[in-house]
Amino acid sequence: MSGLALLIFFAAYGIAAQDIQLDFWAAEETFNARTFPTFIAVGGAGFSLLLLLTGDSRSLPGLGELDLGPLLALVLLLVSFTFLIEYLGFVLAGIGLLAIAPVLLGEKHWQLIITVSIGVVAGLYLLLSALDVYLDPGLLGWLL
């Protein structure tokens, strides 16, 4: 199954390589912007086919073995974080991430969660400020 998915990926990659824009004289050159991507597509597809033919003994573990609920919740939190950081800035978004993620993973001690989240973000803020690394305050920070 993984071999087939990868074969499709490399085939699509190869097709997309032929869509790379070339100057009219570049098309006649021995090596142009399409050459190496085409090699990669052919090589990748070849080995994916080999994987498909030789058979991959590994399959994904059964759903029962995996803790899927917290994983999905954490991924959702990360996606939200990636969209919100632009607006909330490093400090607020960081505290939010570090406060919500432990809850999703089953932590119930609120005082500990708040101490860790604020402590870590404040510590990193101080370290980066001392190293003169720019920190984006976010849209909210600029407005305030």
């Binding site: 100057d23 912007a33 080999l50 994983l71």
Partner: protein
């Protein structure tokens, strides 16, 4: 050479750089101790911090992180039988039984002394071999480089776990494919950007390293959260070895260090193969000792000396040829490129202070690890008891921040989450991640050298094997590439006969 060492010492022995080695070793040890997080994650997490320093200082910090992470990995191997990285798996064979038998302090001390001796001997070998190889490499042509890069990438798959050769090759091609995203600077055209401005400069290697290692490892921890966790034995005493014990490990350490260094120099082999090879050799040489595998001090010293020596050895191709031999040195290469430095033979000639300061910092790093980490082990070991519900968010937070603080582009974070989820799926299907990173880092170099070769030869493919060196390299590449096919054919024959 003496001048070079003096230059390296002058660069490293400043208060700032000594503090950086110290900080690197401490942070590397802390991160490397966390199960699943190895030197690649540790270095990737620290790269943004190094942007505030001179390149030589940045590399000194990262070299300290590298050694610290390897040492930290050994600690988790010994105390909870959970190797942080593949390179310290063999450490657990005798280290963990020693800890279980009530000697965790002695086991950690043995690991520290063996690592120090391995690192020291390898640093001497590095000093002797690197300038010679750098001089030799100055005469290499594009075609030699191209074939060496292909050989390095092929060897990564050849040295991967049994049954995973094809998967490693596919991951290498996937890494190469991702390296093509962005603008082709020679032709001035965009490739695979899908009209997005965020992709015009390509995918950041830091994003890929964090996504495939640190973040996907954190997601993996969530997925298998319900597995039983073992509480580490805290070593409060017994951190010294007797004279007799030193006598027992000295010959082992010497043999294993030389072996580890040689294996480390080979592209793709690295610390894992070195440690298994050293352990296997000692086991064969000590057949009369029944406690091998049950807490034998020699069985612990051998892989520790070898893996540290291999780490130093892996710097030889990186510094002299600009070719990383492992995932970790690939990340270091990425860091050097980010500083605006192209490693290779010219580095030795044009920027000797970086070349020599990295070499000297390796030795200083080993010294610091021994002098500081050993007394701090009882405290550092407590980190292994940090609950997963806090550890995972911290890894996630630091990896996301590491990427965001470089670009301040939320798109990079979104791409990183996507990469981490894909990496998680691939890891569950036993696809190795290091070849992907290596392919990604070397993709640009590979294309440039192939372009130059084909342009010079006007497309004549005989250029790839018309000199003895190119013929040798081309033959090795073919042999390495067809070896998985031959193994599969052989295993099919065995199955049929059975």
């Amino acid at each position: 050479m003496i001048e070079g060492i003096t230059l390296g010492l002058t660069t490293v022995l400043t208060l700032q750089n000594l503090m950086l080695v110290l900080a690197g070793c401490a942070v590397g040890t802390l991160i490397g101790m966390l199960p699943g997080l190895g030197p690649i994650s540790a270095i990737a997490l620290m790269i943004p911090v190094t942007y505030g320093f001179e390149p030589s200082s940045g590399m000194i910090l990262l070299a300290g992180v590298y050694y610290g992470a390897i040492f930290g990995g050994s600690t988790s191997s010994i105390l909870i039988n959970a190797p942080g990285v593949a390179g310290t798996v063999a450490t657990a064979f005798d280290g963990y039984p020693m800890a279980k038998q009530g000697e965790p302090g002695k086991a950690l001390a043995t690991a520290a002394y063996a690592s120090f001796a391995g690192g020291t001997l390898a640093a001497v070998l590095l000093v002797l071999s690197a300038p010679w190889l750098a001089d030799l490499a100055l005469s290499f042509q594009s075609v030699d480089y191209f074939l060496m890069l292909v050989l390095g990438l092929s060897l990564v798959s050849a040295f991967s776990a049994a049954g995973e050769h094809i998967k490693a090759l596919i991951m290498t091609f996937l890494g190469l494919a991702l390296a093509m995203v962005g603008t082709d600077l020679t032709a001035g055209v965009q490739r695979y950007t899908f009209g997005r401005m965020d992709l015009v400069d390509g995918i950041s290697f830091l994003l890929l390293a964090m996504g495939t290692f640190a973040l996907s490892e954190a997601l993996m921890m969530v997925l298998f959260r319900n597995r039983q966790e073992e509480q580490p034995p805290i070593p409060n005493s017994g951190l010294n070895l007797s004279r007799r014990e030193f006598g027992r490990i000295m010959p082992v350490v010497s043999r294993s260090s030389v072996m580890g260094f040689i294996v480390g120099v080979l592209p793709g082999a690295g610390a894992t193969i070195a440690s298994f090879l050293a352990y296997g050799t000692e086991r064969r040489l000590n057949r009369d000792q029944p406690d091998f595998g049950n807490g034998n001090i020699r069985g612990l010293a051998a892989p520790e000396a070898a893996n540290n020596a291999a780490c130093t050895g892996s710097f030889v191709p990186l510094l002299t040829l600009g070719i990383p031999g492992s995932g970790t040195t690939a990340v270091l290469l990425g860091a050097l490129i980010a500083y605006g430095i192209q490693p290779g033979p010219r580095l030795y000639v044009d920027q000797p202070e970086i070349f020599w300061s990295v070499i000297v910092s390796m030795y200083v790093g080993n010294l610091f690890l021994l002098a500081l980490n050993l007394p701090l082990i009882p405290y550092l070991a407590r980190l292994l008891a940090v609950p997963r519900q806090f550890l995972i968010p911290l890894i996630v937070f630091f990896s996301m921040m590491g990427v965001y603080l470089v670009s301040f582009n939320p798109f990079d974070l979104q791409l990183m989450v996507l990469v981490a989820v894909m990496a998680l799926l691939l890891r569950l299907l036993s696809f190795p991640m290091a070849p992907l990173l290596l392919g990604f880092i070397l993709g640009g170099m590979l294309e440039d050298n192939l372009r130059r070769t084909l342009t010079i030869s006007d497309g004549d493919l005989s250029y790839f094997f018309d000199r003895p060196l190119t013929l040798l390299l081309a033959t090795l590449v073919v042999l390495v590439l067809i070896s998985p096919l031959l193994q599969w054919w052989q295993s099919r024959g065995v199955q049929r006969n059975a």
